[in-house]
């Protein structure tokens, strides 16, 4: 039995289809949806934790990819380089879960990791490249 965190991206054409249920039904996996959101691009993003044996997880991942779902390992982290950040706020309007906000008092950028679903929308919007992914 192993545990794996994945980020699933459902493109617009499959976003309305019930796909995750197959993970239980076909592959006998235990899953826990940690966060889910539909972005303005109409792409579904889901941070999911799967529990099962290695083989089952691999088969389930293949199944998801075949169904048009992009699967990324979520063993990564969004990291804000505080020294590089200029607190402009360019990332705040992009962040759909408001994990990135400008603090009302300090006016500086605040990153609430618990709210982050690792959707990656912020990665190409930082003008000073202070948002990084840790793999």
């Amino acid at each position: 039995m192993i545990k794996k965190k994945l980020v699933l991206s459902f493109p617009e054409k499959v976003v309305t289809k019930p796909i995750t249920y197959a993970l239980v039904k076909k592959f006998d996996l235990v899953f826990n949806i940690l966060r889910a959101e539909i972005t303005p691009d109409m792409e579904g993003k889901m941070l999911i934790e799967l529990r099962g044996d290695d083989q089952q997880i691999r088969e389930a991942t293949d199944y998801l990819e075949e169904a048009g779902v992009a699967v990324q390992e979520a063993a990564k982290d969004i990291i804000i380089d505080k020294d590089g950040c200029v607190d402009c706020g360019a990332c705040t309007s992009i962040c759909i879960t408001q994990a990135l906000i400008l603090d009302n008092n300090t006016k500086k950028l605040k990153f609430n990791k618990d709210k982050c679903i690792l959707c990656g929308l912020c990665l190409d919007c930082c003008p000073v490249a202070a948002i990084k992914v840790n793999i």
Binding site: I96, I101, L102, C125
Partner: protein, 388 residues
Amino acid sequence: MAKTIEEINQKIKNGSAVVLNAEEIIDHVREKGVKKTAKEVDVVTTATFGPMCSSGAFINFGHSDPPIRMEKAWLNDVPAYAGIAAVDVYIGATELSETEGMDYGGAHVIEDLIAGKPIKLKAVSHGTDCYPRKEIETFITRETVNQAYLYNPRNAYQNYAVATNSSNRTIYTYMGKLLPRFGNATFSSAGQLSPLLNDPYYRTIGIGTRIFLGGADGFVSWVGTQHNPQKERLANGTPTGLAGTIAVAADLKEMSTDYIRACTFTKYGVSLFVGIGIPIPVIDEEMVEFLKVTDEDITVGIFDYSVQRRNKPSYGQVDYKQLRTGKIKINKKEVQTGPISSYAKALEIADLLKKKIQSSKFFLTDMVQPLPLECEYRSLEILSQEEL
């Protein structure tokens, strides 16, 4: 009772000048009123820190032996304009690297120069009797070059715009990444802290005004390009969109990367975050009326950047207080907002300038000539010679 710059400078000299930043003045006026504030306060510091594409630096390298008259020049593979004399170039902030594309540009050269990093200089020439060298490749730093000035033709825009996107795809603009179907909206102004919004009719900020530029003492050197003072204004004097601008200059060798930073907007290109601070002398009560302006009193137009035309459709006006809550309404839809200029940095600069004035390290200047209140703002039309 009006105060002169000379009187204020005398107070700065003996350390008795009362200085507030443009945020602090708001509460001060609320508490004590306009009359008392005009008497008590001598200087209000304003500031802004945002991407300002219309920026660049003049560099004079000094002469090599044998000498060269540079005709084409590159700094870290970024083309610099060399069509001026022999060893002067202008490196524009938005110029892109010929090898790295959008990841590196003129703005990065400027930041690296300020940071003291070595920069590769390459130049070519056809060679003349007086300048025989045809090629040069060497390394320079801020210490080795003869002179380096930041010389920005258009900075510190007096108000700007809110950008949003009605289309079905994500678009990448100089206002940042705009998500489809009004997924977000961005804006770029220091609002109540912004220099020209605190002096909307340019009573104290003009050509010759000493300013803080990127960490150095600099000056307003000329009217900014696209200066458009006749933009529609609210009763408090603040324009409702793109209006006044200033050209600024200062010694790059005295600057710090805390206040000048290169930036890249994905799929748009390179720009330069410029930190500017301008002290406003509290010359009379009328000045206080302008200085008390708050984010709530300043409005700006919302525009659809997915329309690829000079004139973009507008979705009305909104004030900066609302924009800073992180949410506005466009066509009854709630839209997440975010700035692309840093209020935190602007505040830092306003406070830094305040401390410099309080410790008698920065003195005010009378302007040499005011910025025009009337001038034409022309567009570029595609015409044949006969149609001119």
